[in-house]
Symmetry: C2
Subunit: 444 residues, 2 copies
């Protein structure tokens, strides 16, 4: 039995639908239509007014979908922008163009915008929020990071009184799936990429995922929310997983680590540092057991301490879960006359600093000649740049050559780079095989 | 540099403080004062108005704290209830009486209420929400479950379009600390309880924690939110950890499980079932690696799939993080004139069903005579109640007696109870040592 949430005497016109224009009718769009149609009655009660998709913009009418909805399929954006009955525009086209222009125009016309678009939000967030403020409308984007995982609203509201020092996340499902396969089944990068593409987890052009750009957009968005200062994707350093070999994964395992592609946003005395790169995580770190296509975001605040948010970072229904939650919130604001209640939360200007200034421990894998004094010589070069060695693994390969794996103590990025340049030219060193950052183990 | 979040022409009186009356000045209250005082300027910008604690109610004035705040310390509740400048009452006294009466009276007088009180919210939620609706004020309680972990708002808003089938949580830090110690260090219950009391993790009367009552209150609150139907602590079954022996933990480990005290709320064709009991969790379950005083809440929704929220479930600053986030939200509602925007979300009436009707797999540890046919006889009795055995471990003890550990397939609770009654009276059975529910491993 449903009961009314309204008080006696309060009049809400339950017949007055809140109408939506949906831009894009792909995977997530289909999920949004399913949720809104299947839960129509319940959502009406929750919000205090019915929510209905009136029009759906598609690129070509041949892409019209099944009979999931009686919404009108349109191919001209103006059919939605010019329609004064449409109060909420839900943008699920993806990409920068024309999505950003459509959103900006919708905001200008006083329509609320809900989007899952990380490309646009990580680059044009300020411009869009400025317009939303001017127009006194909502702009929500929970689905832009972490799929269905609640993370935007928790950062904006639930952790709003914390000074957040760090956000670290596994925020790209494709690469996490690939690294999990490489770790558990010993598959190499190319094999696992082909498999991920066959399963639909990786796109035919996998660049944005495997090069870390997708994660860079998401960590820029999270950094803006966590630190209350605008950070764009252009402020983020991105390094992907193409160079991760099965050997690296095996050495990491032996040393008590797993390799993950993480987005990191840190705030310290220098300012804000935002980056995406592979990382050796101690195997008891909460993020270390996040496997397959799952995502998780780890947040450190001065009051709350360590928290983590875990779930499916992509897919039709998880992403639609986040999009429809935003739609509900906008609809509630419409019903309560409280639109633009929480808009941009970037109240501060804070500088970002480049990767060269960042500090991290490092895993360094070298192929060297197998003779006395080699380790000492290498340690000497590292020492000149103040790089101290924390642990060493050494394995005989072929013909008097040895693979040498070093883990350093934390050191400035530029120091490691300088030392590696020298090491690379030492006659006893055949090759610097790989260099990967390391999250230090907690002191027992 | 701070910038204004307000538009040109919009006038917000930044001198008009939103004043708070704080009930209780213990650990969490001190944390709330610290956060509000230390972040006064920033929170003013975030909310659009300054937030100030005007008065603090204490039991005895000798409990007056340091110079953290210039709030007036009072011992008479009417000094707060009668003060029309106080718009928000923050209740941190704990316990049912007089906290519930004070909250109800504050709501009646049109004051917003923020509380961390699980005792009251799990029992009198409906009464308080009805009054909040009548008075058109907010009633927020993020800190009542999971300390600093954002879970109430995510369930109310971020997952609002999901049909949630299950919530499972490690929501009592004291018992999780104890079980972690027992698991990692082989300590027995009494030793670890004494240690937890010495460290201040367990109270001198540990009943509410170790008997599962504290967790029962929290899972009742989570069930109400997850299923949109009122569930009270009286609907919840509670079984604690007093009977968990080191032997059980060792057998569980051998079989690939860890033992945790969990709160479970399930929704199925029978209705809603809410319970707290020890559970053998497969060691790769996301909750299995939640250790020490950490809490985590696992939520399954039809759209979002599996999500988890992790963090510190208690303590001065984590709990104050949640309380102050609620205060911010109430203050924003005051500024935007949107008070009572989201109140009770229990729109449905759904029946609860008792533990006897619930279905679970079971771990059964027996001491039996070591002779042929014993296992067959026991399996026969179980079979008569449709209880099938999934795995068996058998270990010779002393004098021709054997410890027999069975894990069953899922079966109705009352079936297991009936079979155990028969088994307990079999001459070949010395003792039914322990019976613990088991979360089944996923099929590979």
């Amino acid at each position: 039995m449903l009961r009314s949430l309204f008080m006696e005497g309060e009049e809400i016109d339950m017949t007055k639908e809140i109408q939506i224009g949906l831009l894009g009718y792909g995977t997530v769009g289909t999920g949004v239509v399913k949720i809104l149609e299947n839960n129509y009655e319940h959502l009406k009660i929750k919000v205090g007014a019915p929510i209905k998709i009136k029009k759906i913009l598609v690129r070509t009418p041949s892409k019209m979908r099944s009979a999931l909805t009686d919404a009108k399929i349109v191919t001209d954006i103006n059919e939605i922008l010019d329609d004064d009955d449409i109060k909420i525009v839900v943008e699920l086209m993806g990409g920068e163009t024309p999505a950003k222009d459509y959103m900006l125009e919708a905001l200008k016309r006083g329509k609320h915008v809900v989007t899952a678009n990380k490309d646009v939000m990580s680059k044009y967030g300020k411009e869009l929020f400025d317009q939303a403020e001017l127009s006194h409308v909502d702009l929500l984007f929970e689905a832009s990071v972490g799929g269905g995982i609640p993370i935007i609203r928790p950062l904006k509201q639930c952790l709003a009184t914390n000074n957040i020092s760090e956000v670290m996340g596994i925020i790209n499902g494709t690469t996490n799936y690939m690294l999990t396969k490489m770790t558990n089944e010993g598959m190499d990068f190319d094999t696992v990429l082909a498999e991920a593409q066959a399963k639909g987890y990786a796109e035919s052009d996998p660049t944005a995922d495997v090069e870390g750009l997708d994660a860079a957009r998401k960590i820029a968005i999270l950094a803006s929310l966590a630190f209350g200062a605008r950070v764009t994707v252009d402020d983020a350093y991105a390094e992907g997983i193409r160079n991760i070999g099965v050997e690296d994964i095996d050495y990491a395992k032996e040393l008590g680590y797993v390799i993950k592609l993480v987005g990191i946003a840190k705030q310290d005395d220098l300012g804000i540092n935002v980056r995406v790169h592979p990382l050796l995580l101690p195997k008891d770190h909460p993020l270390a057991s996040v496997n397959d296509v799952f995502n998780a975001i780890f947040v450190k605040g001065d009051a709350v301490g360590e928290t983590m948010f875990y779930g499916r970072g992509a897919g039709e229904m998880p992403t639609a879960s986040a999009v429809t939650a935003d739609i509900l919130d906008v609809a509630r604001d419409i019903v309560h006359g409280s639109s633009s209640r929480i808009l941009c939360t970037c109240y501060n200007d804070k500088p970002t600093y480049p990767i060269e200034q960042s500090v991290s421990a490092y895993y360094i894998r070298l192929l060297v000649e197998d003779k006395p004094g080699v380790l000492a010589a290498i340690a000497g070069v590292l020492g000149e740049e103040n790089v101290s060695i924390c642990s060493v693994v050494q394995k005989l390969k072929v013909d008097h050559h040895t693979e040498l794996v070093l883990i350093t103590y934390p050191v400035k990025d530029e120091g490691v780079k300088k030392a590696l340049k020298v090491i690379n030219e030492m006659p006893i060193v055949d090759k610097v095989c790989n260099v990967i950052r390391v999250e230090q183990k907690e002191q027992a």
